[in-house]
């Protein structure tokens, strides 16, 4: 049997954290996938850019604070970590507001990157 080339898999995160579970359960998937030796990317656009916002404190909601875990993405083998420029600007966010280093990409770059994927997973 032929050895398969690594798959390009992109997580397309669009949901805000805390209001629904997608950001959190999406993160759990990303961390697992990191172990599979594929070519993993994660992009944060629309309200998902808020998932990377510094200073989240969920203690009064009584729920787990998981934003720090996003910092582990690199260590877990997620090679490409993007935020979309327009989503950031619309929400008044700059890289200084985020808990980790990511690449800011414009629509054209994201379009191209998405077009190269084998699998796109929305969260």
């Amino acid at each position: 049997m032929e050895e398969q080339a690594p798959r390009k898999i992109m997580f397309v995160n669009r949901r805000a954290p805390h209001g629904s579970i997608y950001a959190y359960e999406g993160l759990e998937v990303i961390l697992i996938f990191g172990a599979y030796d594929q070519e993993i990317s994660a992009v944060f656009l629309d309200d998902a850019v808020f998932s990377l916002k510094k200073g989240q404190d969920t203690s009064e909601l009584g729920v787990k604070e998981f934003s720090a875990t996003f910092r582990a993405l690199e260590a877990y083998g997620v090679e490409n970590r993007y935020v979309e420029k327009e989503s950031m600007e619309q929400r008044g966010l700059t890289l200084d507001d985020l808990i980790m280093d990511v690449e800011v990409v414009d629509g054209a770059t994201l379009r191209k990157a998405m077009g190269e994927q084998d699998v796109l997973l929305p969260f």
Binding site: S20, G62, V63, K64
Partner: protein, 118 residues
Amino acid sequence: MKFGILVQEGPYNHEASDSAYHFIQAALAKGHEITGVFFYNDGVTNTTKLMDIPADDRHISKRWSELGAKGVELIVCVAAAKRRGISPDVLIDNARIDGLGQLSELCIESDRLITFGD
């Protein structure tokens, strides 16, 4: 005052169930009466006792059951529950399955009816 509560979404997936719970706690702390919590739509899935939750997270159905033990009526819509597999066998203690008429009663008896949903 008498507050009735309608919960339309399931636990964990949406914040609605948490917001409803915190609102109720604050209302009770201020001396208000909760006439009842009615679970409808996916909200019925708040009331399964089969949840198996890590120790570092809130246990939503247990939390509801404890509220029920303190005397807050927890009413689960029968039609919505059947559709989603919430049967009497898996229902948490201190909740009951009943008809939509109970929501109507809540609307009539309560000074305020507030809905938490998606």
